[in-house]
Symmetry: C2
Subunit: 172 residues, 2 copies
């Protein structure tokens, strides 16, 4: 397992991807947000095999984003519910949806998901908000800097890469 899979990086994006960075996992999370919480329902709507679904659910439970609730004793049956950290993936799914609606080649006259903002009554066109001031922002409105530690992590990776390349060239 490489650093990017083990979630060892200091990068918060890599950390999130270590938990939900594959299509199947994201589809499971989507279904839980849709209220589809049972194994058969998840199988049907994601198209996963039972083995794959079971593996991913266990991993997501271990990572703390979902929990199992027993809804029946005999035979034992569970449903899967989002924990607080799972609920916090909502913005990720909303931004995926926003991109998909704009760039996914869909007929926009009847969007599959209609998200209406109760406060203004309009259909939501999803953007980012700065929660410090409550205002919408785009990439042009912010300044992004790396911490010294993250710069060091990146420099280390580049040095290791160059050393391996030099080694390979010497061996050839």
């Amino acid at each position: 397992m490489s650093w990017s899979e083990s979630g060892e990086s200091q990068c918060p994006i890599a950390r999130c991807l270590a938990v939900v960075g594959d299509r199947w996992t994201m589809l499971i999370m989507r279904e839980l947000f849709f209220g589809n919480r049972r194994f058969d329902g998840l199988l049907a709507q994601t198209g996963m095999s039972p083995h794959l679904l079971s593996t991913r659910l266990k991993r997501l439970e271990a990572d703390g984003v979902l929990a199992r609730n027993a809804y029946q004793q005999k035979p034992p049956r569970h449903e899967y519910v989002l924990t607080d950290s799972g609920q916090d993936l909502y913005p990720v799914l909303m931004t995926l949806a926003g991109w998909g609606r704009k760039w996914g080649g869909l007929d926009d006259s009847t969007p599959a998901l209609r998200v209406t903002h109760r406060a203004c009554g309009h259909e939501v066109d999803t953007g980012l908000a700065c929660l410090a001031c409550g205002e919408a922002f785009t990439r042009a409105d912010v300044e992004t800097t790396f911490s010294d530690n993250f710069v060091a992590e990146r420099n280390e990776r580049m040095a290791a890469f160059q050393a391996a390349k030099k080694q390979a060239a010497g061996d050839a």
Copy 2:
């Protein structure tokens, strides 16, 4: 290839995941947003093999989220730049970063990425904004409904799943 990989669903989330729904692809996009645009730099910072990186870059180019620019003729060398649809993935990466910072088990005293909102001067705590009214919103502030077509798509999947299950039970 199943429906979820081919981007055939009407669901905008599935459509987006069909393009950027794996960890490697997201890491490539992250690097391009960081300004790391060359093949060796991408290799070093993602930890991908040359073959895997090359495959993913070709796919992303075919999907229109990045383009290749020649920066040298002899030998030919390219750098990879975000197209408009690629730029529009910025909110996805920002929400991944927001989740990772909160739930990724990182030391929050020196965040790897510091994103400062120029307008208010504060570090950005990323939320969602309704671009219709410009206000920040959460899941509790919106009403989500499915289109009739999407309901039909989901019902079809459930019916196909149940038919297959019944068939398997009959065969057993």
